[in-house]
Symmetry: C2
Subunit: 354 residues, 2 copies
């Protein structure tokens, strides 16, 4: 059985929680992949990330432990990351070219294959909640912008002012990106080819890879049901009503009890073209790949071959977890079927044991 | 080798065109699936459909014959259907709840897995052309609404007035849908479960299934490259910035030289949840299914089991064609690798020979 385990890089305890008498349950989250390097990270910032990642994983795990659904667990874990300014989702969403914040999210139920997705919303505090409302209370799957907000209003969701999303760091990043020379703007939406390792025009290590700051969660509940969800602010300086992979069912999010649940974080254009989340599930269902093999095939081979980068978290119907990324780091945490919490940031935190 | 063939239902000739000395090439198109019944169709209307379908298939085939790319063929065939008021795409787009027309389209290149998609545009005469521009001239894959139109403007595309899309039939249909009782509104976006055969509140047989009027095309060129494209006006009376499957890469459109090219037309919500186009390709690539087997598995089994309906056209890397639908009819045409043109509308036009 392939199993990813990675050591805890800080003082976060590797606590073991009681497992239930029912079917195994487990949860995994990510807070974005990218050029996350230890030499660019202060101890206090590292600790802040580890704290929120731990809290988010624990929030979802508590729901699973109490017999709640994987959908509720996914939503709760993502809410915690959306409410933190550290991640590019909810409160910490990056800015568009015209100085706004446009948020995308999606959620999928592996039992029914039901799904909800929204893109381009500007006044929704927790986009994953609206994706859930779309799934549960509309006949549609995918809504955009003001239309999606009109639906939110009809459902009794409070719409908030855009000023909620203002964070100085994200705004400064927009200005940096817009003032950066075309040739070196590694975060610019005007580059599709691979980024050269020499391209590093940004001085804020946290924001350097803002296009990768998406958050996501996959979970298996005691009823054997998988779920996946993803929430993002998209790409800094995005224009043209750009939609990335996060709200695209099959690309950024997919869940199917027959195979696995997947949430992606990466260069959205490549993840859409690769139909990444569904591709991993399909390799398992039709090709007999294990979760780890399928995830590796897509993230270590297919996406880099196209010129893209990023990562995924995935969970199969037995609660096995895969966390694959081809970037230097990915904010991530998991509580496996044994109840063990593990949190990591850098590539070196990953310890593959088979 | 599974081969779909269906008889020509009218005076359209089954012309045979020269095949090239190069690799085989072929094209297939659809103009929407739905409750299309011969008893509801006048001879003149039937002839009008057959004429446009034939012209559209021939336009793309001519490009392939001259050594053009499958992408150019897909675009040319779809343009012809977009310019006809008969189909729910371009000129004949249905109306939204607030009396507008919002168009979606996508295109994908099976050689590079490059793709372009747009949704919710209101001023673009030929949405498939804008999807192609997104693919060829932007670093993004998926754009929405005014943002996508801003990109179109920057690319020198003329934006047109919404009045271009006004057709009395489509507008009357909107009024019919909006005035129909909730319980019998089979075209209402407020129904997710299967439609009862007894639900038929609309008197215009052409418009009865307006949510299925999407157009699409798949093609194989002499260089062995597959391509797929889809264009639609969406669902009559749609609200909330609803996005269907047509612009979603993996759901409504997918092309990959390793497997096949697919364009879908159906109840978009189910096709998104089923990641239909990529699912067919994945069954072939990982599961060893033939094109026909994979298409049948998805359209005859998976989608009806979920409660949805619709159809697909698909082509494998040898130019084999599958046209699967679980509705009474699907407007369709093909010119196979032998250069034989076939056109059909009703289920009875399909003759499966193995």
């Amino acid at each position: 059985m392939p199993l990813i385990a990675f050591s805890c890089v800080s003082s976060i305890k590797n606590e073991v929680y009681e497992t239930s008498n029912h079917q195994d349950f487990a949860i995994a989250i990510h807070g974005g992949a990218g050029t996350i390097l230890k030499e660019n990270m202060s101890d206090s910032l590292e600790q802040a990330y580890l704290n929120v990642l731990s809290q988010a994983a624990l929030a979802g795990h508590q729901i699973l432990k109490n017999g709640g659904s994987s959908l509720d667990a996914v939503q709760a874990s993502i809410n915690l990351m959306e409410d933190s300014p550290l991640f590019n989702a909810g409160k910490g969403a990056v800015f568009t070219n015209d100085g706004h914040n446009e948020l995308d999210a999606s959620i999928m139920d592996g039992a029914s294959l039901n799904a909800g997705a929204i893109a381009g919303v500007k006044q929704v505090k927790n986009p994953i909640d609206l994706a859930r409302l779309v799934m549960d209370h509309s006949e549609h799957v995918f809504m955009y912008g003001e239309g999606a907000e009109a639906f939110a209003g009809e459902q009794g969701m409070d719409l908030i002012d855009q000023s909620y999303f203002f964070t100085q760091r994200r705004y400064d990043h927009l200005i940096q990106v817009q003032q950066a020379p075309e040739t070196s703007a590694s975060n610019s939406p005007n580059i599709r080819g691979p980024i050269s390792p020499n391209q590093s025009p940004f001085y804020d290590p946290i924001l350097k890879n803002a296009k990768f700051g998406t958050v996501g969660c996959v979970a298996l509940d005691q009823f054997g049901n998988l779920a996946a969800g993803t929430s993002t602010g998209g790409m800094t300086n995005k224009r043209f009503g750009r939609i990335g992979d996060a709200p695209v069912i099959g690309a950024g999010t997919y869940a199917n009890n027959q195979s696995c649940a997947v949430s992606a974080t990466g260069w959205g254009e490549y993840f859409i073209r690769g139909v990444v989340a569904h591709d991993i599930a399909a390799m398992m269902e039709y090709g007999g790949y294990t979760l780890e093999q399928a995830a590796s095939q897509v993230i270590d081979k297919k996406i880099p071959k196209m010129g893209g980068d990023g990562g995924i978290i995935a969970m199969d119907h037995d609660g096995r977890i895969s966390m694959k990324f081809n970037t230097p780091g990915m904010y991530r945490a998991q509580i496996d079927t044994k109840g063990k919490l593990k949190v990591g940031i850098y590539k070196s935190d990953a310890l593959l044991t088979k």
